[in-house]
Structures are given as C-alpha cells and as structure tokens.
Amino acid sequence: MVRITRAIEFSTSLRYCRPDLSSEENERLFGPQAAKHGHNYRLEVTLRGEPDPVTGMVLDLKRLQEVLDAEIMARFDHRDLNDDTPYFEKAAPTPENFALVIHRLLLAALPEGLFDGIRLEQDSTLYVEVREAVAGVGA
C-alpha cells in the first residue's frame, strides 16, 4: 500500500460565532476569535491504495486536483466561512469543525476506498488532522 499527499492553500475569512447566541455571549465564549479575521489555510489530502499496474498511480493527481478545486477551492478560497457557506449556521468555524466539514465533503467526492485523511493547517502554530469519519458538523 502507498500513501500519496496533495496540498492546496486557500485564503478565507471567518469569525467564531453561534447565531443562536447573543453577540455578548459569543464574545465571552470565543474572545478575540469572535471578531472577523482570516487565515491562509493549508490543506494536505492523503490517499492510500495500490498503484495501478498500468499507470503506476494510486490516483492521477490531476483528478485529485479537480476534486479539490470543485469541493474546496470553489467553496472556500477568498470566501467568508460564515456568510458564503452553509456549514457554520449552528457551529463556529473552529479548525476542528472546518476540518470535519472538509473531511465529509472529500469523503463523498473522492473515489471510494482511497481516502486516508486530511491535515488542515490554520497557521504555523496549529493544525487539525482527521483520519476517519467523525460525527459532528456537516453530518
């Protein structure tokens, strides 16, 4: 078995906010993260499988990139997670919740059986890994 990893980077604005709470409650819960800010996210997507005997590839990286463009870049790059996407109406776009959304989108879009997991880097000091489906946001 071989693992292959493709990385993409995208830039997104967000604020930690639960619309069911008042702005005072959101500020108390999330502190400075409740104000609108942004990150250059780096996403590493890992697949695992046996290389095809003819092509020598687990999956053509062009196909993987097409999935990443459609599922991730088109939805999130130079967008606002709160205002431009439907995923954070009930939960704050913490890196944990954002990684769960991304994992779920890719699990549905990638060829069955190949998806190993993701690493979502928010900045140079923090990243989240998801290795298998986890109940939660985006379910």
């Binding site: 930690y16 639960r18 819960l29 999330f30 939960a91 704050a92 776009p93 913490t94 890196p95 944990e96 919740n97 990684a99 769960l100 997991g117 140079s124 000091t125 923090l126 990243y127 989240v128 890994e129 998801v130 290795r131 298998e132 986890v134 939660g136 946001v137």
Partner: protein, 138 residues
C-alpha cells in the same frame, strides 16, 4: 479520529554523554554531540491532543489552555537552560528521543485534567533535519 496539534519552540543547551561509558566510547557513540562544553538547539515541539469536539465551543481543547500548560511545564523549566542540569536527565542522556518522552510525561496529566482531551503525540524537531515522535503516528 480527530486530533489538534499545537506547535512551539524553545531554545536549550545540551550535551550527549553517557556516564557509564568512557570518554572514548562517548566520542565514538555521540560524535560532535559529545563535545565537552555542550551545544544548543531551537527545539521545535508539536503537541497533539485527541478527543471529542465540544458542541458549544467547537474545540477539542482550547489552544490557550494548551499554551499555558506548555509554558508552565516545559518552557519555564527548559527554555534558556542546560538540559543536562535538569533532574529529568540526571539518569538519562538528553537525546531528542528522551526529551520527547520527558515532555510527554510532563504534559499528559495536566492536559487530561485541564482540557478533557488526551495527549496522543509529542514530536520534537531538534534541527531541520532531525525529528523524533513519541506516541501515536496519525
């Protein structure tokens, strides 16, 4: 499995010498790392925790709580110090393997008590070319 990793750095000195061995054997085993007056690194540390994502906060653990624990238990103790002078290395050589284990053991209980998450991995980056992991590889 979902895991959150926080990255830190601290500068420290160390010297690799095993008191059970002769000077010549230490020199052969550790090479320039046994130079008698020591040397230092900017140690990079990745602290990885796993657990349930809290439905209210959306977090496995609050990063600032992890930062407080790291500052109290690792930075205050080891940053700008000579690791060989620390009691943790009185009876073991301060290799990065042992440093990773010591940091893990320093952090594990406090992280469990104060965040509800579980420490699953400590990675020590000694230089850009050498890194060491204690715990579960994701």
């Amino acid at each position: 499995m979902i895991a959150l990793t926080r990255r830190y750095e601290f500068p420290a000195a160390h010297l690799l010498v095993q008191p059970l061995l002769s000077d010549a054997e230490n020199r052969r085993l550790y090479g320039k790392c046994a130079n008698p007056n020591g040397h230092g690194h900017n140690y990079g540390v990745e602290v990885t925790v796993s657990g349930r994502v809290d439905s209210l906060s959306g977090r496995i653990a609050e990063p600032h709580t992890l930062d407080e624990i790291f500052d109290e238990r690792v930075r205050a103790r080891f940053a700008h110090r000579n690791l060989n002078d620390d009691p943790a290395f009185a009876d073991r050589v301060p290799t990065a393997e042992n440093i990773a284990q010591v940091i893990h053991d320093e952090l594990a209980a406090a992280i469990g008590e104060r965040t509800g998450a579980r420490l699953v991995r400590v990675r020590v980056q000694e230089t850009r070319r050498n890194s060491f992991v204690y715990g579960v590889m994701a």
